[in-house]
Symmetry: C2
Subunit: 222 residues, 2 copies
DNA sequence: ATAATTTTTTAGATTTGTCTAAATTATTTT
DNA sequence: AAAATAATTTAGACAAATCTAAAAAATTAT
C-alpha cells in the first residue's frame, strides 16, 4: 500500500499530535497542517475508509495500529534523510527539515533501506530524535529535561523540543548543539532560570522558557 | 519559478524528443508520456502561457531558450541522483532510473548543488550521459556508435541509447557495461551484425538492432 | 437548563491533471 | 482534387485536494 503525499502528511501530523492516549481534534490538526478544518474532515473520512484510524464524527480521532505503522515508516524516511543531509551534505541543523519534508515522500523501500545501510544504521537524527528501524522499532534514550537534573552533573544534549529559528538562534549563540556536554551550576527559584556551564567556559543563564525544551542523557561510554 | 512534477515531466520529455531542430508532435509526446493526446494539448497550452515553448495549434512545438534551460535543470537533478544511487548506494545500473524519476522533482537548489559537490562534480551519469553543470553546460564525449568504428580498434563504452530491461538483459549477458573496453573484429554485411571482442575473451555476435544503441569513445588517458 | 460560543461537518465550488467522445484540421491515397 | 485516413483539438466529465459559507453538534457560560 502506498499513500499520497497529502495522506502521508496527515498521517504523520496525527502521529505527532496523538500522545500515548487521548484524542486529536479537527482544529488541532488543521492548525498543525495549516489547512481549513473542512479539509481535515474530508481527509479523515478518506483515512477511515483506508482503515488507518478510529474516527466517529464530532468525537476526535487517533491512528490505529496500522496507521501508527505507516506513520513510523514516514518518520523513518524523514529522519534518515535529515541524517544524510546533515552528516553527508553538511547542511546545518536548521536547514534539514524543509528538504527532508520533500524527500520523505519518495516511494522506494529499497532506497530507504540502502540509505540506512550507507549511513551506518543511525539510531538518532541530527535533532536527537530516534530513527525507527525497518520493523518500526525505535531506540529510546533515557532522557531528562535540564530543568530536572541535579546540579553539577555533566550530561549530553540529545534532544531539543522546539526547533523554531528563534530557539535555534539562542542555542547557536550559547554554542549548544546536539551532543554538547553541559552541567547546571545553579537554579534560580525566582524565575526558574538556570546557570549553565559548558566545559571550562564562562557560565551563562538560560530562561525557563528555553531550558524546558533542552533534554539531556547520561554520557555514552560505549 | 518552480514547476509541478507533471509540468517537469512534460518539459523533460519534450527536450528529449526535440533534436537540434524539427518539431515534436502531440502523438509522439503522448506516446512518450503514456497519456492521451488530449492531455498533451492541455499541457501545451499551459506551458505556452508560461513562455517555455513555441506552439501554434496543429503545427507541432519545441522548447524555446527558457524551456531548454528548465529542462537542463531537471536533467541535471535526474542524473546527479542516478550517480548517487549507483555510486554511493550501490544500486545496479538498471534500477537507478525509476528512483531518480522521483528524486529529480525535489525542489531545492541548495540540495542539488551540495549533492553535486559531495559526489565530486561528476560529468557523466552511470549510463554515460553528461550531467549539466549549474550553468546548464554539458560536457560532450566525442562518441561514435560501434556500427561506425574501424575494425580492431579498442574503444570504451560510454553510452547506451536504449535502456529497456530487454536491452539491459543482452548487455548483462555479454558483460558489457559502462566503461567496458571492446573492439569490433568483423562486420557481416548480410545483416549488419558485428563480431565483438572484450579483452582476450571469446568473441561474440551482436545484431544490428542491438549494436546501433551502443556508443563508444576513445580510451581516456587522463 | 437555557443561551451563547466554539467546534465540526456538510454542501457546493475551484484547481490541476487527467480522461472520452466528438469535431476539426492536416495528410495521404486514389 | 476529392475522398479516406490520421492527427490534433475542443467540449465536457472526473478524481484529488483544497476552499468558503452555512448548518449541525458539542461545549461553555450565565
Amino acid at each position: 500500500m502506498t499513500y499520497s503525499t497529502s495522506e502521508e502528511n496527515y498521517i504523520k501530523a496525527i502521529y505527532h499530535l496523538q500522545g500515548d492516549e487521548g484524542m486529536v481534534t479537527t482544529n488541532e490538526l488543521s492548525a498543525e497542517l495549516k489547512t481549513r478544518p473542512a479539509s481535515v474532515t474530508d481527509m479523515l473520512k478518506k483515512l477511515k475508509t483506508k482503515k488507518l484510524l478510529n474516527y466517529e464524527k464530532y468525537q476526535g480521532f487517533r491512528l490505529n495500529s496500522d496507521g501508527r505503522k505507516v506513520a513510523l515508516g514516514i518518520i523513518r524516511r524523514h529522519r534518515l534523510w535529515e541524517f544524510f543531509l546533515s552528516e553527508k551534505l553538511k547542511f546545518s541543523w536548521d536547514e534539514v527539515h524543509e528538504v527532508a519534508e520533500q524527500l520523505e515522500h519518495v516511494k522506494s523501500k529499497k532506497l530507504i533501506d540502502k540509505l540506512d545501510g550507507y549511513l551506518g544504521f543511525p539510531r538518532f537524527d541530527p535533532h536527537g530524535d530516534p530513527i525507527p528501524d525497518q520493523q518500526g522499532k525505535i531506540a529510546t534514550h533515557e532522557r531528562v529535561c535540564i530543568t530536572a537534573i541535579p546540579l553539577s552533573q555533566v550530561m549530553e544534549v540529545c534532544h531539543v523540543g522546539n526547533q523554531t529559528p528563534e530557539m535555534l538562534d539562542i542555542l547557536k549563540h550559547n554554542h549548544i548543539t546536539m551532543g554538547t556536554r553541559l552541567e547546571v551550576k545553579k537554579k534560580f527559584n525566582f524565575d526558574n532560570s538556570l546557570e549553565i556551564r559548558i566545559g571550562r567556559h564562562q557560565p551563562f543563564i538560560l530562561s525557563e522558557a528555553v531550558a524546558k525544551h533542552i533534554w539531556v542523557k547520561k554520557i555514552d561510554r560505549s
